[in-house]
Symmetry: C2
Subunit: 330 residues, 2 copies
Protein backbone atom coordinates (compact mmCIF):
# COMPACT_ATOMS: atom_id res chain seq x y z
CA UNK A 1 0.00 0.00 0.00
CA UNK A 2 1.45 3.35 -1.04
CA UNK A 3 1.16 6.37 1.25
CA UNK A 4 -2.05 8.28 0.59
CA UNK A 5 -1.99 11.64 -1.19
CA UNK A 6 -5.12 12.93 0.52
CA UNK A 7 -6.01 12.78 4.19
CA UNK A 8 -9.68 12.74 3.25
CA UNK A 9 -11.76 12.38 0.09
CA UNK A 10 -15.32 13.59 0.69
CA UNK A 11 -18.35 12.58 -1.35
CA UNK A 12 -21.49 14.60 -0.79
CA UNK A 13 -24.25 16.84 -2.05
CA UNK A 14 -22.78 20.04 -3.52
CA UNK A 15 -24.94 22.92 -2.28
CA UNK A 16 -24.85 26.68 -1.97
CA UNK A 17 -26.12 27.91 1.40
CA UNK A 18 -28.53 30.83 1.46
CA UNK A 19 -28.48 32.14 5.04
CA UNK A 20 -30.98 34.43 6.70
CA UNK A 21 -31.99 35.37 10.23
CA UNK A 22 -35.58 34.73 11.31
CA UNK A 23 -37.47 33.87 14.47
CA UNK A 24 -39.21 30.67 15.53
CA UNK A 25 -42.55 31.96 14.24
CA UNK A 26 -41.09 31.91 10.75
CA UNK A 27 -40.25 28.22 11.12
CA UNK A 28 -43.77 27.45 12.33
CA UNK A 29 -45.41 29.52 9.58
CA UNK A 30 -43.45 27.64 6.90
CA UNK A 31 -43.61 24.19 8.48
CA UNK A 32 -39.82 24.03 8.89
CA UNK A 33 -38.61 21.39 11.37
CA UNK A 34 -36.30 23.17 13.80
CA UNK A 35 -32.68 21.99 13.74
CA UNK A 36 -33.36 19.53 10.94
CA UNK A 37 -32.81 19.30 7.17
CA UNK A 38 -35.99 19.05 5.12
CA UNK A 39 -35.90 18.14 1.43
CA UNK A 40 -38.24 20.12 -0.81
CA UNK A 41 -38.87 20.62 -4.52
CA UNK A 42 -37.89 23.78 -6.37
CA UNK A 43 -41.32 25.43 -6.08
CA UNK A 44 -41.36 24.91 -2.31
CA UNK A 45 -37.81 26.26 -1.98
CA UNK A 46 -38.83 29.34 -3.97
CA UNK A 47 -41.79 29.93 -1.66
CA UNK A 48 -39.62 29.78 1.46
CA UNK A 49 -36.93 31.95 -0.17
CA UNK A 50 -39.49 34.59 -1.12
CA UNK A 51 -40.53 34.87 2.51
CA UNK A 52 -36.99 35.20 3.85
CA UNK A 53 -35.32 38.49 4.70
CA UNK A 54 -32.04 39.56 3.09
CA UNK A 55 -29.66 36.67 2.56
CA UNK A 56 -25.97 35.85 2.40
CA UNK A 57 -24.82 33.25 -0.14
CA UNK A 58 -21.87 31.04 0.71
CA UNK A 59 -20.75 27.64 -0.46
CA UNK A 60 -22.01 24.80 1.73
CA UNK A 61 -22.85 21.11 1.61
CA UNK A 62 -21.98 19.05 4.68
CA UNK A 63 -19.11 17.01 3.22
CA UNK A 64 -17.80 19.92 1.17
CA UNK A 65 -17.69 21.96 4.40
CA UNK A 66 -15.70 19.17 6.04
CA UNK A 67 -13.12 19.11 3.25
CA UNK A 68 -12.90 22.91 3.50
CA UNK A 69 -12.17 22.50 7.22
CA UNK A 70 -9.55 19.89 6.50
CA UNK A 71 -7.81 22.28 4.10
CA UNK A 72 -7.94 25.03 6.74
CA UNK A 73 -6.21 22.61 9.15
CA UNK A 74 -3.38 22.24 6.65
CA UNK A 75 -4.60 18.85 5.46
CA UNK A 76 -4.99 17.56 1.93
CA UNK A 77 -8.53 16.95 0.82
CA UNK A 78 -10.55 16.09 -2.27
CA UNK A 79 -14.27 16.57 -2.84
CA UNK A 80 -16.65 14.83 -5.23
CA UNK A 81 -20.09 16.36 -5.79
CA UNK A 82 -22.37 17.70 -8.53
CA UNK A 83 -23.17 21.30 -9.44
CA UNK A 84 -24.57 22.81 -12.62
CA UNK A 85 -22.57 25.13 -14.87
CA UNK A 86 -24.52 28.16 -13.60
CA UNK A 87 -23.56 31.16 -11.44
CA UNK A 88 -24.11 29.33 -8.15
CA UNK A 89 -22.21 26.29 -9.40
CA UNK A 90 -19.28 28.42 -10.48
CA UNK A 91 -19.20 30.10 -7.07
CA UNK A 92 -19.24 26.69 -5.34
CA UNK A 93 -16.38 25.45 -7.53
CA UNK A 94 -14.36 28.61 -7.03
CA UNK A 95 -14.72 28.61 -3.27
CA UNK A 96 -13.73 25.01 -2.66
CA UNK A 97 -10.77 25.15 -5.05
CA UNK A 98 -9.64 28.47 -3.56
CA UNK A 99 -9.13 26.58 -0.29
CA UNK A 100 -6.84 24.09 -2.01
CA UNK A 101 -9.36 21.24 -2.05
CA UNK A 102 -9.10 19.05 -5.16
CA UNK A 103 -12.51 19.26 -6.90
CA UNK A 104 -12.72 17.69 -10.34
CA UNK A 105 -16.33 16.52 -10.71
CA UNK A 106 -17.68 17.77 -14.04
CA UNK A 107 -20.50 20.30 -13.67
CA UNK A 108 -23.79 19.26 -15.27
CA UNK A 109 -24.44 21.13 -18.53
CA UNK A 110 -28.18 20.50 -18.46
CA UNK A 111 -30.88 19.60 -15.98
CA UNK A 112 -31.66 21.28 -12.64
CA UNK A 113 -29.77 24.32 -11.35
CA UNK A 114 -27.13 24.04 -8.64
CA UNK A 115 -28.69 22.87 -5.37
CA UNK A 116 -29.48 25.30 -2.59
CA UNK A 117 -29.85 24.97 1.14
CA UNK A 118 -31.99 27.72 2.67
CA UNK A 119 -30.76 28.11 6.23
CA UNK A 120 -32.86 29.96 8.77
CA UNK A 121 -30.77 30.99 11.76
CA UNK A 122 -32.95 31.67 14.82
CA UNK A 123 -31.90 33.94 17.71
CA UNK A 124 -30.70 30.88 19.68
CA UNK A 125 -28.09 30.29 16.88
CA UNK A 126 -29.84 27.07 15.84
CA UNK A 127 -29.99 26.44 12.10
CA UNK A 128 -32.95 24.87 10.29
CA UNK A 129 -32.45 23.82 6.70
CA UNK A 130 -34.76 23.62 3.69
CA UNK A 131 -32.91 21.95 0.83
CA UNK A 132 -33.56 21.82 -2.89
CA UNK A 133 -31.02 19.28 -4.17
CA UNK A 134 -31.05 20.50 -7.78
CA UNK A 135 -28.03 19.27 -9.75
CA UNK A 136 -26.87 17.22 -6.73
CA UNK A 137 -29.58 14.78 -7.78
CA UNK A 138 -27.53 14.02 -10.88
CA UNK A 139 -24.45 12.65 -9.11
CA UNK A 140 -23.81 9.16 -10.49
CA UNK A 141 -21.27 6.38 -9.89
CA UNK A 142 -19.41 7.60 -13.00
CA UNK A 143 -18.55 10.75 -11.03
CA UNK A 144 -16.63 8.67 -8.47
CA UNK A 145 -13.04 8.85 -9.64
CA UNK A 146 -11.31 5.62 -8.44
CA UNK A 147 -7.92 7.32 -8.45
CA UNK A 148 -9.05 10.04 -6.01
CA UNK A 149 -10.68 7.55 -3.63
CA UNK A 150 -7.80 5.08 -3.63
CA UNK A 151 -5.31 7.89 -2.95
CA UNK A 152 -7.16 9.06 0.19
CA UNK A 153 -6.44 7.70 3.68
CA UNK A 154 -10.11 8.12 4.55
CA UNK A 155 -13.12 8.29 2.25
CA UNK A 156 -15.82 10.32 4.00
CA UNK A 157 -19.45 9.76 3.02
CA UNK A 158 -22.68 11.43 4.17
CA UNK A 159 -26.02 9.84 4.97
CA UNK A 160 -27.62 12.61 2.88
CA UNK A 161 -26.29 10.79 -0.21
CA UNK A 162 -29.06 8.23 0.21
CA UNK A 163 -31.61 10.84 -0.86
CA UNK A 164 -30.64 11.17 -4.56
CA UNK A 165 -30.83 7.67 -6.14
CA UNK A 166 -27.68 7.91 -8.26
CA UNK A 167 -25.71 9.32 -5.36
CA UNK A 168 -26.48 6.23 -3.25
CA UNK A 169 -24.83 4.06 -5.91
CA UNK A 170 -21.89 6.47 -5.99
CA UNK A 171 -21.64 6.04 -2.20
CA UNK A 172 -21.53 2.24 -2.48
CA UNK A 173 -18.95 2.39 -5.27
CA UNK A 174 -16.69 4.78 -3.33
CA UNK A 175 -16.81 2.61 -0.19
CA UNK A 176 -15.84 -0.47 -2.21
CA UNK A 177 -12.93 1.29 -3.93
CA UNK A 178 -11.66 2.58 -0.59
CA UNK A 179 -11.75 -0.82 1.09
CA UNK A 180 -10.25 -2.56 -1.93
CA UNK A 181 -7.35 -0.11 -1.63
CA UNK A 182 -7.03 -0.86 2.11
CA UNK A 183 -8.22 2.62 3.04
CA UNK A 184 -10.78 3.58 5.67
CA UNK A 185 -14.40 4.61 5.24
CA UNK A 186 -16.05 7.24 7.43
CA UNK A 187 -19.76 8.04 7.53
CA UNK A 188 -21.79 10.84 9.05
CA UNK A 189 -25.44 10.04 9.72
CA UNK A 190 -26.19 13.67 8.67
CA UNK A 191 -29.61 14.23 10.27
CA UNK A 192 -32.04 12.32 12.46
CA UNK A 193 -34.80 12.57 9.84
CA UNK A 194 -32.39 11.19 7.26
CA UNK A 195 -31.75 8.28 9.66
CA UNK A 196 -35.53 7.78 9.88
CA UNK A 197 -35.67 7.47 6.11
CA UNK A 198 -32.88 4.88 5.79
CA UNK A 199 -32.58 3.25 9.21
CA UNK A 200 -32.25 -0.34 8.01
CA UNK A 201 -29.62 0.50 5.41
CA UNK A 202 -27.67 2.73 7.80
CA UNK A 203 -27.60 0.04 10.53
CA UNK A 204 -26.20 -2.40 8.02
CA UNK A 205 -23.62 0.11 6.79
CA UNK A 206 -22.46 0.80 10.35
CA UNK A 207 -22.19 -2.92 11.11
CA UNK A 208 -20.50 -3.94 7.85
CA UNK A 209 -18.84 -1.05 6.03
CA UNK A 210 -18.03 1.90 8.26
CA UNK A 211 -14.67 2.28 9.98
CA UNK A 212 -15.37 5.68 11.54
CA UNK A 213 -18.91 6.83 12.36
CA UNK A 214 -20.01 10.39 13.14
CA UNK A 215 -23.40 11.05 14.73
CA UNK A 216 -24.98 13.48 17.12
CA UNK A 217 -27.23 12.38 19.98
CA UNK A 218 -30.49 12.59 18.02
CA UNK A 219 -29.04 10.67 15.10
CA UNK A 220 -27.51 7.80 17.07
CA UNK A 221 -30.65 7.43 19.22
CA UNK A 222 -32.75 7.38 16.04
CA UNK A 223 -30.47 4.81 14.44
CA UNK A 224 -31.04 2.29 17.23
CA UNK A 225 -34.52 3.53 18.20
CA UNK A 226 -33.63 4.00 21.84
CA UNK A 227 -34.65 6.71 24.31
CA UNK A 228 -31.33 7.53 25.92
CA UNK A 229 -27.93 8.47 24.63
CA UNK A 230 -26.29 5.83 26.83
CA UNK A 231 -28.43 3.05 25.38
CA UNK A 232 -27.33 4.08 21.87
CA UNK A 233 -23.72 4.30 23.05
CA UNK A 234 -23.78 0.73 24.39
CA UNK A 235 -25.13 -0.59 21.09
CA UNK A 236 -22.85 1.36 18.76
CA UNK A 237 -19.75 0.43 20.74
CA UNK A 238 -20.26 -3.13 19.58
CA UNK A 239 -20.94 -2.16 16.00
CA UNK A 240 -18.50 0.43 14.64
CA UNK A 241 -14.71 0.21 15.15
CA UNK A 242 -14.65 3.98 15.77
CA UNK A 243 -17.63 6.18 16.65
CA UNK A 244 -17.41 9.92 17.37
CA UNK A 245 -20.67 10.99 19.00
CA UNK A 246 -21.24 14.72 19.44
CA UNK A 247 -23.42 16.23 22.16
CA UNK A 248 -23.29 20.00 21.48
CA UNK A 249 -22.17 21.90 24.59
CA UNK A 250 -21.89 18.59 26.51
CA UNK A 251 -18.89 17.64 24.39
CA UNK A 252 -18.32 14.33 22.66
CA UNK A 253 -18.04 10.65 23.41
CA UNK A 254 -15.52 8.64 21.40
CA UNK A 255 -15.62 4.88 21.10
CA UNK A 256 -12.57 3.05 19.74
CA UNK A 257 -12.86 -0.73 19.60
CA UNK A 258 -15.23 -0.72 22.53
CA UNK A 259 -13.12 1.70 24.63
CA UNK A 260 -15.07 4.80 25.63
CA UNK A 261 -13.66 8.33 26.08
CA UNK A 262 -15.65 11.37 27.23
CA UNK A 263 -14.25 14.70 25.96
CA UNK A 264 -15.29 18.26 26.89
CA UNK A 265 -16.51 20.74 24.30
CA UNK A 266 -14.48 23.81 23.36
CA UNK A 267 -16.61 26.83 24.19
CA UNK A 268 -17.10 29.22 21.23
CA UNK A 269 -16.26 32.90 21.71
CA UNK A 270 -19.79 33.73 20.56
CA UNK A 271 -22.93 31.73 19.84
CA UNK A 272 -23.98 33.04 16.42
CA UNK A 273 -24.83 30.22 14.01
CA UNK A 274 -24.42 26.47 14.52
CA UNK A 275 -24.40 25.80 10.76
CA UNK A 276 -21.42 23.57 9.96
CA UNK A 277 -20.57 22.70 13.58
CA UNK A 278 -20.91 18.97 12.96
CA UNK A 279 -19.03 19.22 9.66
CA UNK A 280 -16.11 21.03 11.27
CA UNK A 281 -16.00 18.63 14.22
CA UNK A 282 -15.68 15.80 11.71
CA UNK A 283 -13.00 17.70 9.78
CA UNK A 284 -10.92 18.14 12.91
CA UNK A 285 -11.42 14.58 14.11
CA UNK A 286 -10.50 13.08 10.73
CA UNK A 287 -7.48 15.34 10.34
CA UNK A 288 -6.28 14.14 13.75
CA UNK A 289 -7.02 10.53 12.86
CA UNK A 290 -5.25 10.70 9.50
CA UNK A 291 -2.19 12.25 11.17
CA UNK A 292 -1.99 9.63 13.92
CA UNK A 293 -3.30 11.51 16.98
CA UNK A 294 -4.91 9.80 19.97
CA UNK A 295 -8.72 9.49 19.92
CA UNK A 296 -9.04 12.11 22.65
CA UNK A 297 -6.82 14.57 20.77
CA UNK A 298 -8.84 13.92 17.60
CA UNK A 299 -11.97 14.91 19.51
CA UNK A 300 -10.28 17.98 20.99
CA UNK A 301 -9.19 19.15 17.53
CA UNK A 302 -12.72 18.54 16.24
CA UNK A 303 -14.17 20.56 19.08
CA UNK A 304 -11.84 23.52 18.42
CA UNK A 305 -12.94 23.52 14.76
CA UNK A 306 -16.63 23.36 15.69
CA UNK A 307 -16.23 26.26 18.14
CA UNK A 308 -14.71 28.44 15.41
CA UNK A 309 -17.59 27.97 13.00
CA UNK A 310 -20.30 28.49 15.64
CA UNK A 311 -18.93 31.97 16.38
CA UNK A 312 -19.89 33.42 12.96
CA UNK A 313 -22.48 33.06 10.20
CA UNK A 314 -21.78 30.36 7.63
CA UNK A 315 -20.62 26.75 7.58
CA UNK A 316 -16.90 27.05 6.82
CA UNK A 317 -14.00 28.41 8.89
CA UNK A 318 -13.17 32.10 8.53
CA UNK A 319 -9.87 31.89 10.40
CA UNK A 320 -7.04 29.40 10.01
CA UNK A 321 -7.99 26.24 11.91
CA UNK A 322 -4.32 25.21 11.79
CA UNK A 323 -3.43 28.31 13.81
CA UNK A 324 -6.24 27.75 16.34
CA UNK A 325 -5.24 24.14 16.88
CA UNK A 326 -1.54 25.03 17.17
CA UNK A 327 -2.41 27.72 19.73
CA UNK A 328 -3.94 24.94 21.87
CA UNK A 329 -0.73 22.94 21.67
CA UNK A 330 -2.30 20.29 19.44
CA UNK B 1 -47.01 69.81 -3.56
CA UNK B 2 -48.31 66.60 -2.03
CA UNK B 3 -46.44 64.92 0.82
CA UNK B 4 -43.83 62.47 -0.50
CA UNK B 5 -44.40 58.71 -0.24
CA UNK B 6 -40.70 57.88 -0.10
CA UNK B 7 -38.02 59.54 1.99
CA UNK B 8 -35.48 58.63 -0.68
CA UNK B 9 -35.48 57.24 -4.23
CA UNK B 10 -32.03 55.93 -5.14
CA UNK B 11 -30.76 55.48 -8.69
CA UNK B 12 -27.56 53.49 -9.06
CA UNK B 13 -25.63 50.55 -10.43
CA UNK B 14 -27.21 47.28 -9.25
CA UNK B 15 -24.34 45.00 -8.24
CA UNK B 16 -23.73 41.83 -6.28
CA UNK B 17 -20.71 42.07 -4.00
CA UNK B 18 -18.27 39.19 -3.93
CA UNK B 19 -16.21 39.64 -0.76
CA UNK B 20 -12.91 37.99 0.12
CA UNK B 21 -10.05 38.60 2.52
CA UNK B 22 -6.57 39.14 1.09
CA UNK B 23 -3.42 41.05 1.96
CA UNK B 24 -1.85 44.10 0.35
CA UNK B 25 0.44 41.91 -1.78
CA UNK B 26 -2.66 40.59 -3.52
CA UNK B 27 -3.68 44.16 -4.45
CA UNK B 28 -0.21 44.87 -5.82
CA UNK B 29 -0.03 41.58 -7.75
CA UNK B 30 -3.35 42.31 -9.44
CA UNK B 31 -2.85 46.03 -9.95
CA UNK B 32 -5.81 46.91 -7.71
CA UNK B 33 -5.84 50.51 -6.46
CA UNK B 34 -6.23 50.35 -2.68
CA UNK B 35 -9.43 51.87 -1.33
CA UNK B 36 -10.73 52.69 -4.80
CA UNK B 37 -13.21 51.29 -7.31
CA UNK B 38 -11.70 50.15 -10.60
CA UNK B 39 -13.89 49.32 -13.59
CA UNK B 40 -12.87 46.23 -15.56
CA UNK B 41 -14.26 44.05 -18.34
CA UNK B 42 -15.63 40.58 -17.71
CA UNK B 43 -12.39 38.77 -18.61
CA UNK B 44 -10.42 40.91 -16.16
CA UNK B 45 -13.00 40.36 -13.42
CA UNK B 46 -12.80 36.62 -14.01
CA UNK B 47 -9.00 36.70 -13.67
CA UNK B 48 -9.17 38.55 -10.34
CA UNK B 49 -11.98 36.29 -9.09
CA UNK B 50 -9.99 33.16 -9.96
CA UNK B 51 -7.12 34.39 -7.80
CA UNK B 52 -9.33 35.22 -4.79
CA UNK B 53 -9.79 32.93 -1.81
CA UNK B 54 -13.24 31.73 -0.72
CA UNK B 55 -15.92 34.36 -1.13
CA UNK B 56 -19.18 35.53 0.36
CA UNK B 57 -21.85 36.84 -2.00
CA UNK B 58 -24.17 39.59 -0.81
CA UNK B 59 -26.21 42.23 -2.57
CA UNK B 60 -24.38 45.52 -2.94
CA UNK B 61 -24.24 48.61 -5.15
CA UNK B 62 -23.61 51.94 -3.43
CA UNK B 63 -27.05 53.50 -3.83
CA UNK B 64 -28.85 50.20 -3.29
CA UNK B 65 -26.94 49.86 -0.01
CA UNK B 66 -28.08 53.33 0.98
CA UNK B 67 -31.74 52.52 0.33
CA UNK B 68 -31.27 49.29 2.34
CA UNK B 69 -29.94 51.40 5.21
CA UNK B 70 -32.86 53.77 4.90
CA UNK B 71 -35.27 50.85 5.21
CA UNK B 72 -33.38 49.57 8.27
CA UNK B 73 -33.85 53.02 9.82
CA UNK B 74 -37.59 52.65 9.38
CA UNK B 75 -37.68 54.93 6.36
CA UNK B 76 -39.44 54.44 3.05
CA UNK B 77 -37.15 53.99 0.07
CA UNK B 78 -37.26 53.08 -3.60
CA UNK B 79 -34.39 51.87 -5.78
CA UNK B 80 -33.93 52.00 -9.54
CA UNK B 81 -31.15 49.90 -11.09
CA UNK B 82 -30.55 47.18 -13.67
CA UNK B 83 -29.88 43.46 -13.12
CA UNK B 84 -30.20 40.52 -15.50
CA UNK B 85 -32.76 37.74 -14.99
CA UNK B 86 -30.04 35.36 -13.76
CA UNK B 87 -29.27 33.81 -10.36
CA UNK B 88 -27.30 36.83 -9.11
CA UNK B 89 -29.98 39.22 -10.35
CA UNK B 90 -32.69 37.27 -8.61
CA UNK B 91 -30.72 37.32 -5.37
CA UNK B 92 -30.23 41.09 -5.68
CA UNK B 93 -33.94 41.62 -6.28
CA UNK B 94 -34.91 39.33 -3.41
CA UNK B 95 -32.60 40.97 -0.91
CA UNK B 96 -33.60 44.57 -1.57
CA UNK B 97 -37.32 43.78 -1.64
CA UNK B 98 -37.01 41.69 1.53
CA UNK B 99 -35.94 44.90 3.28
CA UNK B 100 -39.10 46.65 2.17
CA UNK B 101 -37.43 48.79 -0.49
CA UNK B 102 -39.61 49.37 -3.56
CA UNK B 103 -37.68 47.93 -6.53
CA UNK B 104 -39.57 47.75 -9.81
CA UNK B 105 -36.91 48.11 -12.53
CA UNK B 106 -37.41 45.32 -15.08
CA UNK B 107 -34.52 42.85 -15.19
CA UNK B 108 -32.76 42.58 -18.57
CA UNK B 109 -33.70 39.38 -20.41
CA UNK B 110 -30.64 39.45 -22.64
CA UNK B 111 -27.18 40.96 -22.70
CA UNK B 112 -24.53 40.87 -19.98
CA UNK B 113 -24.99 39.01 -16.69
CA UNK B 114 -25.79 40.85 -13.45
CA UNK B 115 -22.89 43.11 -12.48
CA UNK B 116 -20.41 42.12 -9.81
CA UNK B 117 -18.14 44.03 -7.49
CA UNK B 118 -15.17 41.96 -6.32
CA UNK B 119 -14.22 43.40 -2.94
CA UNK B 120 -10.86 42.60 -1.41
CA UNK B 121 -10.86 43.32 2.32
CA UNK B 122 -7.30 43.78 3.64
CA UNK B 123 -6.31 43.21 7.30
CA UNK B 124 -6.69 46.96 7.99
CA UNK B 125 -10.43 46.59 7.10
CA UNK B 126 -9.98 48.74 3.98
CA UNK B 127 -11.95 47.59 0.93
CA UNK B 128 -10.67 47.75 -2.65
CA UNK B 129 -13.15 47.15 -5.43
CA UNK B 130 -12.88 45.66 -8.91
CA UNK B 131 -16.18 46.12 -10.72
CA UNK B 132 -17.64 44.48 -13.78
CA UNK B 133 -20.79 46.52 -14.48
CA UNK B 134 -22.54 43.80 -16.52
CA UNK B 135 -26.27 44.43 -16.86
CA UNK B 136 -25.89 47.75 -15.00
CA UNK B 137 -24.55 49.07 -18.30
CA UNK B 138 -28.03 48.65 -19.76
CA UNK B 139 -29.83 51.08 -17.46
CA UNK B 140 -31.57 53.64 -19.67
CA UNK B 141 -33.73 56.73 -19.15
CA UNK B 142 -36.77 54.52 -19.83
CA UNK B 143 -36.02 52.75 -16.53
CA UNK B 144 -36.53 55.99 -14.62
CA UNK B 145 -40.12 55.85 -13.46
CA UNK B 146 -41.34 59.48 -13.12
CA UNK B 147 -43.93 58.45 -10.56
CA UNK B 148 -41.32 56.97 -8.20
CA UNK B 149 -39.02 60.00 -8.47
CA UNK B 150 -41.75 62.60 -8.04
CA UNK B 151 -43.09 60.76 -4.97
CA UNK B 152 -39.71 60.88 -3.17
CA UNK B 153 -38.63 63.73 -0.89
CA UNK B 154 -35.04 63.24 -2.05
CA UNK B 155 -33.74 61.63 -5.23
CA UNK B 156 -30.29 60.23 -4.51
CA UNK B 157 -27.87 59.75 -7.40
CA UNK B 158 -24.34 58.35 -7.56
CA UNK B 159 -21.34 59.60 -9.49
CA UNK B 160 -20.76 56.02 -10.61
CA UNK B 161 -23.77 56.44 -12.91
CA UNK B 162 -21.58 58.48 -15.24
CA UNK B 163 -19.68 55.34 -16.23
CA UNK B 164 -22.44 53.54 -18.19
CA UNK B 165 -23.59 55.90 -20.99
CA UNK B 166 -27.34 55.18 -20.72
CA UNK B 167 -27.20 55.53 -16.96
CA UNK B 168 -25.87 59.06 -17.24
CA UNK B 169 -28.94 60.03 -19.23
CA UNK B 170 -31.10 58.28 -16.63
CA UNK B 171 -29.35 60.41 -13.97
CA UNK B 172 -30.10 63.64 -15.83
CA UNK B 173 -33.73 62.64 -16.37
CA UNK B 174 -34.23 61.72 -12.71
CA UNK B 175 -32.75 65.02 -11.50
CA UNK B 176 -35.05 66.97 -13.80
CA UNK B 177 -38.16 65.08 -12.70
CA UNK B 178 -37.24 65.61 -9.05
CA UNK B 179 -36.74 69.35 -9.41
CA UNK B 180 -39.84 69.75 -11.55
CA UNK B 181 -41.76 68.14 -8.68
CA UNK B 182 -40.13 70.52 -6.17
CA UNK B 183 -38.17 67.68 -4.57
CA UNK B 184 -34.49 67.64 -3.62
CA UNK B 185 -31.57 66.02 -5.43
CA UNK B 186 -28.67 64.44 -3.55
CA UNK B 187 -25.42 63.25 -5.12
CA UNK B 188 -22.53 61.16 -3.85
CA UNK B 189 -19.25 61.66 -5.69
CA UNK B 190 -18.71 57.88 -5.22
CA UNK B 191 -14.92 57.57 -5.64
CA UNK B 192 -11.97 59.89 -6.24
CA UNK B 193 -11.05 58.11 -9.49
CA UNK B 194 -14.63 58.54 -10.64
CA UNK B 195 -14.26 62.27 -9.88
CA UNK B 196 -11.08 62.27 -11.98
CA UNK B 197 -13.01 60.84 -14.90
CA UNK B 198 -15.86 63.36 -14.80
CA UNK B 199 -14.50 66.40 -12.91
CA UNK B 200 -15.92 69.07 -15.20
CA UNK B 201 -19.39 67.55 -15.29
CA UNK B 202 -19.41 66.93 -11.53
CA UNK B 203 -18.36 70.51 -10.74
CA UNK B 204 -21.22 71.76 -12.87
CA UNK B 205 -23.68 69.37 -11.25
CA UNK B 206 -22.64 70.52 -7.78
CA UNK B 207 -22.96 74.16 -8.75
CA UNK B 208 -26.26 73.86 -10.64
CA UNK B 209 -28.23 70.74 -9.75
CA UNK B 210 -27.30 69.25 -6.41
CA UNK B 211 -29.13 70.15 -3.21
CA UNK B 212 -27.23 67.74 -0.94
CA UNK B 213 -23.71 66.59 -1.74
CA UNK B 214 -21.87 63.63 -0.17
CA UNK B 215 -18.12 63.26 -0.55
CA UNK B 216 -15.18 61.95 1.41
CA UNK B 217 -11.92 63.86 1.75
CA UNK B 218 -10.23 62.34 -1.30
CA UNK B 219 -13.28 62.95 -3.47
CA UNK B 220 -13.87 66.58 -2.53
CA UNK B 221 -10.16 67.40 -2.84
CA UNK B 222 -10.11 65.74 -6.26
CA UNK B 223 -13.23 67.63 -7.34
CA UNK B 224 -11.60 71.01 -6.77
CA UNK B 225 -8.02 69.85 -7.40
CA UNK B 226 -6.74 71.18 -4.09
CA UNK B 227 -4.20 69.71 -1.66
CA UNK B 228 -5.99 70.18 1.65
CA UNK B 229 -9.38 69.28 2.97
CA UNK B 230 -9.92 72.81 4.25
CA UNK B 231 -9.30 74.31 0.82
CA UNK B 232 -11.94 72.02 -0.66
CA UNK B 233 -14.30 72.86 2.22
CA UNK B 234 -14.00 76.59 1.56
CA UNK B 235 -14.83 76.11 -2.12
CA UNK B 236 -17.73 73.69 -1.71
CA UNK B 237 -19.37 75.84 0.96
CA UNK B 238 -20.03 78.41 -1.74
CA UNK B 239 -21.27 75.86 -4.25
CA UNK B 240 -23.69 73.32 -2.74
CA UNK B 241 -26.60 74.27 -0.45
CA UNK B 242 -25.80 71.23 1.73
CA UNK B 243 -22.55 69.24 1.73
CA UNK B 244 -21.84 66.29 4.03
CA UNK B 245 -18.12 65.60 3.94
CA UNK B 246 -16.89 62.42 5.62
CA UNK B 247 -13.41 61.99 7.10
CA UNK B 248 -13.38 58.37 8.35
CA UNK B 249 -12.37 58.24 12.04
CA UNK B 250 -12.02 62.05 12.07
CA UNK B 251 -15.80 62.37 11.72
CA UNK B 252 -17.64 64.60 9.32
CA UNK B 253 -17.97 68.24 8.36
CA UNK B 254 -21.41 69.48 7.36
CA UNK B 255 -22.01 72.67 5.39
CA UNK B 256 -25.53 74.11 5.25
CA UNK B 257 -25.88 77.35 3.31
CA UNK B 258 -22.31 78.31 4.14
CA UNK B 259 -22.62 77.40 7.85
CA UNK B 260 -20.04 74.83 8.91
CA UNK B 261 -20.50 72.11 11.57
CA UNK B 262 -17.82 69.65 12.69
CA UNK B 263 -19.20 66.35 14.03
CA UNK B 264 -17.36 63.46 15.73
CA UNK B 265 -17.41 59.94 14.33
CA UNK B 266 -19.18 57.12 16.12
CA UNK B 267 -16.55 54.50 16.93
CA UNK B 268 -17.41 51.02 15.61
CA UNK B 269 -17.35 48.11 18.07
CA UNK B 270 -14.92 46.36 15.72
CA UNK B 271 -12.95 47.36 12.63
CA UNK B 272 -13.74 44.54 10.19
CA UNK B 273 -14.70 45.83 6.75
CA UNK B 274 -15.29 49.42 5.66
CA UNK B 275 -17.42 48.34 2.67
CA UNK B 276 -20.64 50.35 2.70
CA UNK B 277 -19.52 52.87 5.36
CA UNK B 278 -20.08 55.85 3.07
CA UNK B 279 -23.37 54.43 1.81
CA UNK B 280 -24.69 53.96 5.34
CA UNK B 281 -23.54 57.41 6.44
CA UNK B 282 -25.53 58.84 3.54
CA UNK B 283 -28.54 56.68 4.45
CA UNK B 284 -28.52 57.98 8.00
CA UNK B 285 -27.95 61.59 6.99
CA UNK B 286 -30.74 61.55 4.39
CA UNK B 287 -33.15 59.81 6.75
CA UNK B 288 -32.48 62.55 9.28
CA UNK B 289 -32.82 65.25 6.64
CA UNK B 290 -36.09 63.86 5.25
CA UNK B 291 -37.53 63.67 8.78
CA UNK B 292 -36.58 67.23 9.67
CA UNK B 293 -33.60 66.77 12.02
CA UNK B 294 -30.87 69.36 12.53
CA UNK B 295 -27.76 69.08 10.31
CA UNK B 296 -25.67 67.91 13.29
CA UNK B 297 -28.21 65.23 14.22
CA UNK B 298 -28.31 64.10 10.58
CA UNK B 299 -24.55 63.62 10.71
CA UNK B 300 -24.74 61.81 14.05
CA UNK B 301 -27.36 59.40 12.68
CA UNK B 302 -25.19 58.85 9.61
CA UNK B 303 -22.18 58.12 11.77
CA UNK B 304 -24.08 55.55 13.87
CA UNK B 305 -25.12 53.77 10.66
CA UNK B 306 -21.57 53.78 9.27
CA UNK B 307 -20.20 52.37 12.53
CA UNK B 308 -22.63 49.45 12.39
CA UNK B 309 -21.59 48.38 8.88
CA UNK B 310 -17.85 48.70 9.57
CA UNK B 311 -18.11 46.15 12.39
CA UNK B 312 -18.96 43.24 10.08
CA UNK B 313 -18.30 41.95 6.55
CA UNK B 314 -20.64 43.28 3.87
CA UNK B 315 -22.13 46.62 2.85
CA UNK B 316 -25.59 46.54 4.43
CA UNK B 317 -26.71 46.68 8.07
CA UNK B 318 -27.10 43.37 9.92
CA UNK B 319 -28.88 44.86 12.90
CA UNK B 320 -31.77 47.30 13.04
CA UNK B 321 -30.41 50.80 12.47
CA UNK B 322 -33.67 52.18 13.87
CA UNK B 323 -32.90 50.47 17.21
CA UNK B 324 -29.29 51.69 17.26
CA UNK B 325 -30.32 55.27 16.56
CA UNK B 326 -33.12 55.13 19.14
CA UNK B 327 -30.66 53.78 21.72
CA UNK B 328 -28.62 56.97 21.19
CA UNK B 329 -31.64 59.11 21.86
CA UNK B 330 -31.89 60.23 18.23
Amino acid sequence: MTAPDFHVAGLGNALVDVLAHADDDFLIAHGIEKGAMTLVDEAHATRVYSALGPTVQVSGGSLANATAGLASLGGKAAFIGKVRDDQLGMAFSHDIRALGVSFKTAAATQGPATGRCLIVVTPDAQRSMTTYLGAAQDLTPEDVDPETISRAAITFLEGYLWDPPGAKQAFVKAAKIAHDANRQVALTLSDSFCVDRYRTEFRQLVADEVDILFANEAEIMSLYEVDTFDAALQIVSGQAPVAALTRSAAGSVIVVNGEIHVVDAEMPTALVDTTGAGDQFAAGFLYGWATGRSPVDCARIGSICAAEVIAHMGPRPETSLADLVAARGL
